[in-house]
């Protein structure tokens, strides 16, 4: 029923307008309102705060339907960050913060994002320079974040980002604290950048100068942010793997329709084995990816019930995301190739899908980091090269 409900919304409301985001560069407000009414925004928040208390697998089903519908990848990103980081805020945030933030997020009035990346700290979170200091009853933050999704949305409509900063320098990664940072705070200066894809959702950064944070915005214990942040990453990575599979499978659907109709040398190009073999391989790989992505999300839920270990979840989620972007990109790239010159034109939805899924080789943990995680679990922590 969950899938049926989301699919109905996607087909009726999102599909007719999704590709227009390539030009309008924003998600239509009616779509945001519709997502809120259906309960897709902040869906992992508890019922008490206006959410739907969704587990990871259910959140994955929504991600799949959105990934299949929006070739620009904008709405899936808009959804997934709020689902994943809403989960973290819901689990570790204070009651006061949740009462203040979630009702607005779930109604689509505020955006809730994630801000960990800096110009010199991406995969290496330990290199984070942004600092948070306790001053009396509040905290003061200074630093800069870069390549952050949804900066314009939070500045324009309200909301903020789950943010990571260094609190106790000498403790290294064990001295980082997570908190909620409203982007309309005094001392925030946003900047925007032009991404390769995902045109409907903004990418940007912001400098943080003496921004004051109330105590209730601290997420989890002080100096425990490095551990908490991985729970959000892993939730998001599982969703990303589903989105990559869904988006590329939709492209294959487009491709199948095209190669059946398009004739070359008097026959449908779908009769050529060069195309058939690639189609079969992509279809198989993408379905394997989707199944495995759901397994990883299921394990995520099992871990919450105490039925599997944290590291087993990390490993499986990393395995799911490791090839997600590559496999999806390769499949979509072939669909573009089958369509000839049209496949390379801006009129072709598949090129937008390719640019969107390409981002997921980096977002929420690069594919290289996924390999390091899997190797760490197979060989043991003593084999981590950078430690």
């Amino acid at each position: 029923m969950l899938r049926e409900s989301v699919r109905g919304f996607c087909e009726k409301k999102i599909a007719p307008v999704a590709f227009e985001m390539e030009k309008t560069k924003e998600i239509p407000i009616e779509i945001v309102k519709g997502m809120a009414e259906l309960g897709l925004l902040g869906c992992t928040a508890s019922l008490d705060y206006g959410g739907s208390d969704l587990d990871a697998v259910s959140a994955g089903i929504i991600a799949e339907e959105l990934g299949k519908t929006d070739p620009t990848g904008s709405i899936p990103v808009f959804y997934l960050v709020q689902a994943a980081w809403g989960h973290v805020l819901n689990k570790y945030g204070t009651d006061d913060a949740k009462k203040e933030i979630f009702p607005k997020v779930t109604k689509g009035k505020w955006f809730l994002g994630i801000a960990t990346t800096e110009s010199d700290a991406g995969s290496d979170i330990g290199a984070t320079r942004t600092k948070i200091e306790k001053q009396g009853d509040e905290y003061v933050v200074n630093g800069e974040k870069m390549y952050i999704s949804g900066v314009k949305e939070a500045v324009k409509h309200g909301g903020g980002h789950v943010t990571l900063a260094r609190q106790t320098h000498k403790l290294g990664t064990r001295g980082m604290t997570m908190f909620y940072l409203p982007l309309n705070s005094k001392g925030i200066t946003p900047t925007y950048m032009d991404d390769l894809g995902r045109e409907g959702i903004s990418c940007g950064g912001f400098s943080i100068e003496n921004v004051k944070i109330p105590k209730h915005y601290i997420i989890g214990e002080e100096n425990k942010g490095f551990y908490i942040v991985h729970e959000g990453y892993e939730f998001a990575r599982g969703l990303i793997a589903v989105i990559c599979a869904a988006s590329a499978l939709k492209s294959l659907e487009n491709g199948i329709k095209y190669i059946k109709e398009r004739k070359c040398f008097g026959v449908s190009i779908g009769k050529f084995e060069e195309i058939q073999f690639r189609l079969s391989e992509h279809y198989t790989r993408l379905n394997m990816l989707k199944e495995f992505a759901y397994k990883s999300l299921w394990l995520y839920d099992r871990e919450k019930e105490g039925k599997t270990s944290r590291f087993e979840v990390s490993k499986n989620i990393a395995m799911a995301k490791m090839f997600a972007s590559d496999w999806a990109c390769n499949a979509i790239n072939d669909v573009m190739q089958w369509q000839g010159a049209f496949g390379y034109s801006r009129e072709c939805p598949d090129q937008a899908a390719w640019r969107a899924v390409r981002s997921f080789a980096l977002a929420e943990g690069s594919k290289e980091i996924m390999k390091i995680i899997v190797a760490r679990e197979l060989l043991g922590k003593e084999f981590i090269a950078y430690k």
Partner: protein, 281 residues
């Protein structure tokens, strides 16, 4: 509220050897007519629960008058196999309060007569009621018989093709029904059975995710034939005086010809075609 789970298409293929519908690979949905009736039932319940005085509702253009009532319940009931649970869960997510599934192998093969008999037993077992809502018809059988037969079985009046419940006062309601000529306004005493016919503008709602999650916590019971204490000979195939002899699709009509031109040229072309086909001289 009576509902049926139906195949998600009006173009189900037919197995020519067995004269039965091929349902494999066709997803099942809540009958859209039933969903409309349910949404109307929910609207009526919301207004009846409203603490707003009648006069205020009228002034605000709510276009619905009703005695204030509390603790009204919408109980949704369906007869069918265990998969019918999905349609009932959707009803709960849309706003029904309880669900009752009448499910037993002996119910298999029921025609509308046996179905309405079984539903009536289920409804009596549920308890007292004010209004029974049904969809006008199911999109698979298209008989539009179960609602009226059910009213007969329950011994209550019926109003068919209802688009809107306009007013409830005391034990009476006023309903607007669609007719070929326009609307028929009917006043009926409760308890009453209404069959719902959606306006052309009706779009079935998708239940919000939150409601889907909370629906899991609402009461859901399954009753078999023994629970209903009816006459065994009146259930299922044995209790069905009608049987399907053959199912076949209507003959395919030839595609029409579209004439697109200015009215003057188009009319000349049309007359030419009619003459050519010896329809006019």
């Amino acid at each position: 509220m009576c509902v049926k789970q139906v195949p998600d298409t009006t173009e189900v293929k037919i197995d020519e050897k067995t004269n039965t519908l091929i349902r494999e690979g066709v997803p099942s949905i809540l009958n859209p007519f039933d969903q409309f009736a349910l949404e109307e039932a929910i609207r009526v319940k919301k207004v009846s629960e409203s603490k707003i005085p009648h006069s205020f509702i009228a002034q605000q253009g709510h276009n619905f008058l009703c005695d204030k009532k509390e603790n009204d319940e919408i109980v949704v009931v369906s007869m069918g196999p265990s998969q019918t649970r999905n349609a009932l869960m959707k009803c709960l997510a849309l706003g029904a309060d309880k669900a009752v599934l009448l499910s037993d192998r002996v119910f298999a093969g029921s025609d509308t007569f046996a179905t309405s008999y079984t539903l009536a037993l289920g409804i009596r077992k549920i308890g007292e009621f004010d209004i029974i809502f049904c969809g006008q018809q199911a999109i698979d059988g298209d008989t539009a018989q179960v609602g009226p037969e059910l009213a007969n079985n329950l011994g209550i009046p019926q109003v068919t093709y209802v688009e809107k419940v306009e007013k409830i006062e005391g034990r009476k309601l006023v309903a607007y029904s669609q007719t070929d000529e326009g609307y028929r306004i009917t006043e009926a005493k409760m308890p009453v059975l209404l069959t719902g016919t959606p306006p052309t503008s009706f779009e079935p709602k998708n239940p919000p995710i939150r409601s889907i999650m909370t629906a899991k916590k609402k009461p859901f019971v399954v009753w078999c034939a023994n629970d209903l204490k009816g006459e065994k000979g009146r259930y299922g195939l044995n209790g069905s005086p009608t049987q399907v002899i053959k199912v076949y699709p209507p003959p395919v009509r030839e595609k029409g010809v579209m004439i697109t031109d200015t009215p003057e040229i188009a009319s000349k072309k049309l007359v030419g075609m009619l003459v050519e086909n010896k329809i006019i001289k």
